[in-house]
């Protein structure tokens, strides 16, 4: 398959692994954070970290949109799902993310009408088919899914579908990166930048990382060769004393992003003053809500929601995992009380979550051979 087979070529992977070995300084420990959950998933699916020298450590970032949803917002979603007449729609495994009193699947079992959709367009179709009922779409995700929600809201307005409502939980990638970089307990040498978020926002918003924090960033594709090449590009920057944003994923990511997507997001959304992230707490200007022009389609204005902040379960260490402070297997409940079948924390629910990636690909401890 074009653009896929080349980037899964084992021989090319070995060559890059050799070059990486040549680019590291012996005795120095490198910590590189991959921001995006898609990268985490690829790294463990293809065993990319096994090809790296032991002094190059990959740290997983907060880039899985399900993992960062706080429990309180899940409770709000469940409360909406229980409103009389509501059809509540959400992406697949959001149904399994635990709130403080169960999941959306539990709500469904208790009689709420909760339906899984693959896109907001599916939810809009359900709204058109059920004009006498409110259809609430649980919008989550970074700038990759936000344009999709924005376009669907525009479509709902243009086509006159007043019963399509949005419970907006979209978040933006830059504020949590800023928060992580300002966190005193984290030392990082560089970032593997998000691939598909950058198709929308471009690479320019990441320029503050080298400019203000002196860390290299390489926007990366998702195939194993992409990730190895990105690690090499970061190490080369460190070796040569450079510090900039580079784009390894030029075949997909334009440096300026998708201006049409940014425009439609600007029309439909505005920034919340602050938004809570699981494990990271409240981060200023990190969440999106519907703008005044779309207030009539805002589920939060139509329904009264509990809006209560719920502390994460004590046993769960998703917060530390999301900040890259601990590895998933270092969490007390990993693989025992918390599994993909019965998750306690969000990182175990989503297939892009670091804990699920470790669990599904058999990483129960750090056992790596020296390359």
């Amino acid at each position: 398959m074009r653009f896929v087979d080349e980037f899964r070529d084992p021989e090319l992977g070995r060559v890059l692994a050799g070059e990486i070995l040549g680019a590291v300084e012996p005795g120095r420990h490198y910590k590189v954070m991959e921001v995006c959950g898609g990268h985490t998933h690829s790294i463990y699916k293809y065993g990319v970290d096994d090809l790296l020298p032991t002094n190059v450590e990959l740290v997983h970032g907060p880039g899985c949109p399900v993992c960062v949803i706080p429990m309180g917002r899940v409770d709000d979603a469940i409360a909406m799902a229980h409103e009389p007449g509501v059809i509540f729609t959400c992406f697949g495994d959001m149904m399994r993310v635990p709130g403080s009193h169960g999941t959306l699947t539990d709500a469904s079992a208790e009689g709420a009408d909760v339906r899984m959709v693959y896109s907001p367009l599916d939810a809009l179709r359900i709204a058109k088919e059920n004009p006498d009922r409110d259809v609430v779409f649980f919008a989550i995700g970074f700038e990759t899914t936000a344009p999709s929600t924005a376009l669907t809201l525009k479509r709902a307005k243009a086509e006159g579908v007043p019963n399509f409502l949005c419970f907006c939980n979209h978040v933006t990638i830059v504020p949590p990166l800023r928060a992580l970089l300002e966190s005193p307990d984290l030392r990082l040498d560089g970032f593997i930048g998000p691939g598909h978020v950058s198709t929308v926002v471009g690479a320019r918003p990441l320029e503050f990382i080298p400019a203000d924090h002196g860390k290299p960033v390489v926007v990366s594709g998702f195939e194993p060769v992409d990730i190895l090449q990105s690690v090499l590009m970061i190490l080369r920057q460190l070796q040569e004393g450079r510090c900039e944003v580079e784009n390894q994923y030029k075949r997909v990511v334009p440096y300026e992003g998708n201006l049409a997507a940014l425009k439609v997001m600007g029309e439909v959304f505005e920034l919340r003053p602050h938004f809570e992230w699981r494990g990271l707490g409240f981060i200023s200007h990190s969440g999106l809500k519907l703008s005044e022009a779309y207030a009539d389609l805002d589920a939060e204005r139509r329904y009264t929601i509990p809006n209560v902040r719920i502390a994460d379960p004590k046993a769960c260490q998703c917060g530390e995992v999301l900040k890259g402070v601990i590895k998933p297997f270092e969490c007390k409940v990993f693989g025992t009380a918390c599994t993909p079948e019965r998750p306690i924390g969000t990182c175990m629910v989503s297939s892009e979550g670091a804990c699920a990636a470790y669990y599904n690909y058999g990483r129960f401890a750090r056992e790596r051979e020296v390359v």
Binding site: H41, S42, K45, G92, M94, P120, S148, T199, V253
Partner: protein, 65 residues
């Protein structure tokens, strides 16, 4: 793009090929590499023609491949 995209949030791009365009509704019938078909928003990547390959997130094409 990994072939196994996240079912949780659809927040991983699926490469799809345009089969037919519905210009009136600004949608395109697209097919993924595993044969799954879906209506996709194409407003952000226009102009689009039959046979184009698009990267699709949550039912919306974000970029030409």
């Amino acid at each position: 793009m990994t072939s196994c995209h996240c079912i949780t949030c659809s927040d991983e791009g699926t490469p799809m090929t345009v089969l037919r365009i519905d210009a009136e509704r600004a949608l395109a019938l697209c097919e993924s590499e595993d044969g799954a078909r879906a209506s996709v928003e194409i407003a952000l990547v226009e102009p689009v023609t039959d046979g184009d390959r698009l990267l699709v997130h949550a039912g919306t094409a974000l970029v030409h491949l």
